[in-house]
Each structure stands twice: as C-alpha cells, then as structure tokens.
Amino acid sequence: MSARREGRLTLPALCRALACGALSSLELTRRCLGRLERLEPTVGAFLTLDAPGALAAAAASDRRRQAGAPLHPLDGVPYAVKDNLCTRGLRTTCASRMLENYIPPYDADAVARLRGAGCVLLGKLNMDEFSFGSTTMTSALGVTRNPLDPARVPGGSSGGAAAAVAAGELPFAVGSDTGGSVRQPAAFCGVTGFKPAAGRISRYGLVAFAPSLDCVGVLANTAADAARVYALLAQPLPAQELLPADDSGAGLSGVRVAVPPQGWGPPLSDAVGRALDRGADCLRRAGALLCTADCLPPPETALLSYVALSTAEAASDLARFDGIRFGGPARDPSALPDPAEVRGDCFGPEVKRRILLGTALLSGEFRARCYQPACLVREAVRDGFARLFGEAELLLTPTVPGGAPRADVPLSPREAGQMDLYTVPASLAGLPALSVPFGRDENAMPLGLQLVAPPGREALLFRAGAILEAAGGWLPEEVGNE
C-alpha cells in the first residue's frame, strides 16, 4: 500500500541492529538528525533540538556497547519528549511564552528512566500551550504540520510527538494524555498511541494540566514498540502487563470484545463506521467474541464532565505562574510583579479561556451546579466501565470522529472538544487505552481505532492492537539497516 512510508524503524529492528553492531547509536542518531534537518522545516515537530547532547549520549552508549555493558536493550535508541516533561538543563516551555526561557533543575521521572536506560534524548516536542488544545495550533512557540499532509494539523496536544514519529524523525516519543492528547494525534498522524492506566507511569516532572486525569503516554510506530517503552517507563511491572517478546501468532481466542451500540454518541461518519466494522471483524477473525457495550454513559455527558473537571484543575495548576518566578524579566525589579499583567502578556487566548472557565467553575454557585455534578458523572463513567469489564475484556471504539482537519479552518472550542469524544471516557475512568492507525477518511488521511482494557490487561490490549495494526494499512515499511 502506498500508505507504507519509508524511514520509519521499529524497535525490534533497531535493537537487533544495535546489538549485533550493524548500527552504532552515533550512526543512528546522526541519521535521525539528518532526517530532522530535511523534514523539520515542513513538519516543525521540535521546539528545542539538543544535537550536541544527543551526539554525546550516543557516543557514550556506543562505548557501553563496545565494553559489552549496555544498560538496556533500548540503550542508544534516540527519542524525544513533549515539552511539558521537565528535562534537567534543557529548556522546558509547555509551548508557552510564560516558560519560554525556563530551564528545569531536574528530570521528570519518565525522562530519568529513559536516560537511565541509555536512550538518546534528541530534544523537546511541540504541543498545544500547556496541553490546552487538540491541534497543536495553540502553541505559542511554533507550528507543527501533519507529515502526511502539511495542510492539515497533526492533532494535539502531543502533536509534535505524533508528527515526529510519523515523519520517521525518531522511533518513539513520550507525550502526555489528559483526555486523548496522545491517542488523538497518534490517530491523525497514522501512528500508535498508548495511554497507561492512572498511576502506572510516574507523573513527577510532568507539568500538570489536570492531575486527576494526566498520564505520561507513549507514541510509537507499533503497539509492540509502545509496549516495550511502556515496560521501561512503568516499573515495577507485573507480568500480565508485559507483552511477550514474541507474541505473533497468539490470537484472541475466547476474548470478549465489546463494541458500542448504535446511538452511543453522534452518528458515525461513513469512513469511521466502516473502519469500526472492519476492525471488529478483524478481531472476530482472530478468535474474539463480539458483544455490545450497553452500560456506558453517553460520551457527550462524559465530555461535559471532562471539560468541567479538567478546566477546574487546570486553572488551579496554572495559579503558580504568578509572574514572580516565570514570565520573563521583571518589568520593575524593585517591585513585585503584578500577576494579572504578566499572565495577560504571557498566556495565549486558549489558556486564558480555560483559566477563566476553570476559575468560574470552582466559584460560588457554579461549584454546586457544574463542578460537583461533573464529579458524579466521573463516578458514573467508572461504574459503567466496571460493569462493562464484568462482561468483556476489551472495548473497541473509534479514536477520533474523523481524520485530521485542515490547519487553515479554525475550530471553535466546541468543535475542538468533539475530537476528544471517544478518548475522554477512558481518561475519566483511569483505564489503559491504545489507539492504532486503522482505515482512512475521505481525504485518505488515517483514522484510528481505540482499544480500552481494565487495568492489568495491558498485554491483551497490546496484542489486540497488533492484530488491528496488521490489517489497518498503516504499518511502517521495515527498512532495517539500510
């Protein structure tokens, strides 16, 4: 298929090449940097590139390999992280003017884990400002385009991460997912995105959007690659969350997969409906038993709850940006900065909109009328999933209601929010969820299918994801050690 694109390397191939000496980390890193140089003017996935740091880390990795002491099978593999994960000594901006020059004194736990395994950090990836958006277009510091069609958005908020993986600039990236911010851009860019269960990957060092929903997530070329990175980030890892090294051939015999009934959510577009049917059929042929997910609350209700909870928490989390420590040089060093002035200057319109909304939601009567009902809806969503997973092992839904929209047609907040419709329920319930590229829309842009599992069934999730990927038409062409 023409959708197979060159230049994308999966982790097993890279690990084999590094292990047998066919490829050095330095060669691999130089190849990524070379590709970056060619593609970044179009794609714009990176906000900060750390070529010297990456080359030094790659050289160190090669020395370990030569000494016969690699730190981990992924030692020497390049990657990059969304710019809301703190990196010691490397600018961390959240794509905001507020943090444009902020250099953290510490590594996020996820970054420390990858450094500790010898992975090579290439730099920091673009995102919606403070993750507030679904297109990466609210970034105050750069424009990221969809590598499959530069006229279209990469999705968001982890848009830089999805675009970089899709463009073959790097084999995997680490992003964050609050209501779909890993899964949705993965679907728009034709890559795989994994959001772990709440609490499975440390969020320490992830600049908070909404702590009760935030997760560190993985974007990669395949479900198996995402599983490998997850296994590194989420320690200690129980065996049932691990995908066996060779899982090919293992089917879904007897696994009950629930599919939402007609009328759950707005009517699906033809393309999305077709993709969902084909996906379900594909799982059935692998041995799965299909059933209907009757006990989930409507996704529209979940979305309203998500908007209320996430903006309320976001307004609270962003209170620390009061102009004293962040937001550029003080206008008058002898006086304390005025928070309203600094915030007015340094926050973009979407951030201001959410702070206003979130502040209102916790104030006075709105608290009882909006915020507290939203908490109850979250409980109802959790209960619905608990009942569902009494009857089935997996839930299959679309990831997105359509393909990536054009960048030149601005979306209203409501339209942008609709893109989170199918991803938000698993976020509210704190469940592991995987998006794999599957099918295409009327513009030949990729669509995604989402699998949701109960906590502890991650291995099953990755296996079902791999089965869908194989039929989805978006697997990268292995170019191996070209």
Partner: protein, 491 residues
C-alpha cells in the same frame, strides 16, 4: 485602653475567636523529604515539590508523623477524629505562596468539636474547639536592597490550624487560652511553640455586641500575631476601636487588620466586603486520609499527662500554690525533673524553691535541660532542710554543682561551707561581735531590738557565713540580756 472594663461600662462585650497555627515537630516537610530546620540560608531546604516548580507534584508522599501529631492535638483537645478526610487546595495569590494555592483542609478536617479548659484570672473557663486541621506553611518574603526576595525554606512545613468557637470575651482571656494551649502542645511534643521563630502564630476574629445579645456583630480579623502579650493588647485596642466605630457610624466594616506593636494599634491590611472565595479544590495528588480506630487508640495511649491534670496532681501531692504548679507545667521537662528530685528528698518544698527561684535562673532555655541531676538537687535540699548548710549557702552551691557529678554534701564539706552549730564557738563570736560594735549593743540593751541585726551580721561575717543563724541570734540575745542583768544588779 483598659481591657473590657470600658466596654462593659458602656454595656458592650467583645466576642473573640482564635485561629492558631502551630508548626508541627517533624524533621521533614509535609509532602517531601526537605528539612524543616529553622534558620538555614535562604532556599537551601527546598525542592521542586515544596518550591512549586512546574511538574513538582506532591504525589504519593505525605508525612505520616505530621498526620499523627495533628491527630494527637485533636485527642489532647478532646476532638472527634474523622475516619476519613482529605487535603484541599486553597487558592489565593500571594508572593510567598509559590503554587498559588495552599494545601489545607476545608470540608473534611482531621479533627472537630473539642474544648480546652483553663483558668482565666482564677476563673475556670472552657473554650470550645471547632476544628483542628492539617496544612502547609508558605514561604517568606525578604526585603533586600536588591528588591523583594523569596525564601522557600518554610514552604511545605507542616502546620496545624486550631480554630476556636467565639467563646472568648477579653484579651486577657485569649492570652490565658493561648498559654494553656501552648502548654498542651509542648507537653504532647506536637510543636516547639517557638513564637520568635514563628512556629506558633495566631489570628484573632473579633466583634462587639451589646451584653445579653445573642447574634454576633460584624467581625474584623487581625492576622498573624506572634506574641501572647500582643494578642492581649491587640484585642483590647480593637474592641475599643470597633465600639468607637459602631457608636460613630452605626456599623463596623468587615476588614482584615494587622497589629502594629510599636504604635499599639491595629491597621488595615485590606477591606473585606464579602467573604474571600478560596475556590477549594480537593487535591487530586494526595490520596484520602483514612484513620483507623486502632491508630486513634494507639495515639491516645501516646498522650502524656496533660497540663491541667498534672497541675491538679502537683497541687494535691505537694500542697504547692497554683502559680508554682503552672510554672512547673509550662516548660517541657520541668515537672518531670521536679518529680524525680522531690521523690528523692525529704524536703520537697525546698526542692521546689531551689528549682523555681535558683535553678531556672541559670538554665532558662527551652525545653528545660538541667545542669544538675535531680539527685544533686534533692541532696542540696536535704542539706538545707536538715540545717547542714544555711539557705543562702545552698543557693550559692547550686551553680558550682552545675555540670559536675559531685555530691553537694561532699562539696560543702570540702569547701568548709557546712553550718557551724558548736555553742562554744558561736558564743565566742557573739562576744567578739558585741565587743566590736558597742553602740548597737547599747541600743539593743536600751530596748531597740532591731539593733540585733547589725550584731548578727557581724557574727556571721566572723564565722565566714557558716554559723547557724538561729543559734547566732540566740547566743547574742543571751549574751546581751545577761550583761543587762549584771549592769542592773550593779546599780
């Protein structure tokens, strides 16, 4: 302004409630492992968590000891312990608050509904405690020639806030309450209560109303007073000021004030026309606090004897005055030390006297750490009690025993400080004193009995301070009266 008196003469009373913040005695902060030690150079005891850096989540760590100390405070104050509670974000912008919110407890405090009993000017008083909750301290703004600087060392230090019902009626009553509360917190090891280091601070809520009225007037809040004396003065001043405002304008404006000790009055910090909206949000990163019955019972067993019970016991057991029992109870370690020394001595009253009037003077620190052992103090009291040394010698010996293991008796004997009670030697000194001071002797004989003091002083000096003063007086009297009889018989 006279506390309460002027108010009452006009038919009004002040209604006072307190919010007391006490720093908990933990080594580390509430949500991270940073030290809580006082006085370190600025920003040397903070991390991404307590300094509120982006990404510095409080996830997964809560200082267990801080929770236990807050529960101990609740138990000591007779509160109900909540089986379930949680932390909330309390939002307000202030430069010393790096996250823009303080982690505190709003709707579900750890402890509710207790009381504290104490004597205010001799009158038994009970103040109800509305709640005790856990929260974190803010940072500190330093004003330097380079501009305002923020020190985050204190950010995240665990505190409890103790909120009373509006049961107090005067500054003196508030100060007495605070003294008692401090004694309780010290006795239980909950807080060091070092006011000069800000580890105990108090907000005052005050309104005035006509005596007999049930409803509360509009209140003002006086923030962050760090001395009991200032609390007392601030209340006295503010009650008078409110009454004056009420009489002049017919109402009191709701305001937040600070107390200016130099000017002796309250000053406006901000007008507070309506209640501040802190937009409380349950902290998503701190799991709910579930306190089991077993934990509560374990902590209840950890409670030491509380000051009120201890004072009652000391007064009954030793017949001491209420003030002395209060002094012994106010300083941690003091009553225990007294108990040990008194038990080892035949003269507990002398032990008490030497302890309160002499030993405390040479070791005024907190907590009480004695430079002599309870056994040494007991032996010293026995020497004085049995008359082996006189009282003033005993007082002089005390500092010389400090830091030594020496027996007071051995020291007194080696230094020849024991009292001399040999009648022959005392009679000889008496004769010499009379011979050297003929005028006082003559005065005494002519009926001015207080002339004996000069003679006795000389006798004591001749004896090197060692003559038994009672015997000395007897000897002088005997000598002077014998002489008088002889003189009379000659006439």
């Amino acid at each position: 302004m006279n506390d309460g008196g002027a108010l009452r003469r006009q038919g009004y009373e002040a209604v006072v409630g307190l919010e007391v913040h006490a720093e908990l005695k933990t080594r580390t902060k509430l949500f991270c492992g940073c030290s809580t030690a006082f006085g370190a150079p600025p920003n040397t005891q903070c991390c991404p968590v307590c300094a509120g850096l982006p990404g510095g989540l409080v996830a997964g760590r809560l200082n267990r000891r801080a929770v236990e100390l807050a529960l101990l405070a609740g138990l000591a104050l007779g509160c109900d312990i909540a089986g379930y509670s949680h932390m909330d974000r309390k939002h307000y912008f202030y430069p010393d608050l790096p996250r823009g919110y303080q982690l505190s407890q709003d709707g579900e405090p750890l402890c509710r509904g207790g009381y504290l009993e104490f004597a205010a000017a001799g009158v038994p008083t009970r103040v109800r405690i509305a709640r005790v909750h856990l929260e974190e301290d803010a940072g500190k703004l330093l004003h330097t020639p380079q501009g305002a600087m923020l020190d985050c060392n204190r950010c995240g230090v665990p505190l409890i806030e103790i909120v009373t019902e509006p049961d107090l009626r005067s500054g003196a009553g508030a100060a007495a309450f605070l003294r008692e509360l401090r004694a309780v917190l010290l006795a239980c090891g909950i807080s060091d209560c070092r006011m000069q280091e800000g580890s105990l601070r108090c907000d005052v809520n005050l309104s005035v109303r006509r005596i007999g009225e049930e409803t509360l007037g509009t209140r003002t809040e006086i923030k962050n007073i760090n001395s009991f004396a200032f609390v007392e003065k601030a209340i006295a001043y503010e009650a008078g000021r409110q009454l004056e405002e009420l009489v002049r304008t017919g109402q009191v404006r709701q305001r937040t004030l600070r107390y200016n000790p130099a000017a002796g009055r309250t000053e406006v910090m901000r007008d507070k026309e309506r209640a501040a909206d802190y937009r409380f949000l349950r902290e998503p990163d701190v799991p709910e606090l579930c306190v089991s019955r077993a934990t509560v019972e374990r902590l209840r067993r950890e409670l030491p004897e509380l000051p009120a019970a201890r004072r009652a016991r000391l007064q009954t057991a030793y017949g001491m005055r209420a003030e002395d029992a209060a002094t012994l109870t106010a300083l941690p370690g003091l009553a225990e030390f007294f108990g040990q020394a008194a038990a080892a001595s035949a003269y507990p009253d002398l032990v008490l006297n030497l302890l309160l009037s002499d030993l405390l003077r040479i070791c005024p620190g907190e907590p009480f750490v004695s430079p002599v052992s309870p056994g040494q103090l007991a032996e010293l009291a026995d020497l004085a009690g049995e008359g082996s040394v006189n009282r003033s010698t005993a007082k002089r010996l005390l500092p010389r025993l400090a830091g030594t293991q020496e027996s007071p008796r051995a020291l007194a004997e080696r230094e020849q400080l024991t009292q001399i009670r040999d009648p022959g030697r005392i009679a000889a000194w008496a004769a010499q004193a009379v011979a050297e001071l003929p005028r006082p002797a003559a005065d005494y004989r002519s009926g001015r009995s207080n002339a004996l003091q000069a003679l006795q002083g000389r006798l004591m000096a001749l004896s090197g301070g060692r003559a038994d003063p009672v015997q000395a007086a007897q000897a002088l009297r005997a000598l002077l009266e014998t002489n008088r009889e002889e003189e009379e018989s000659h006439v």
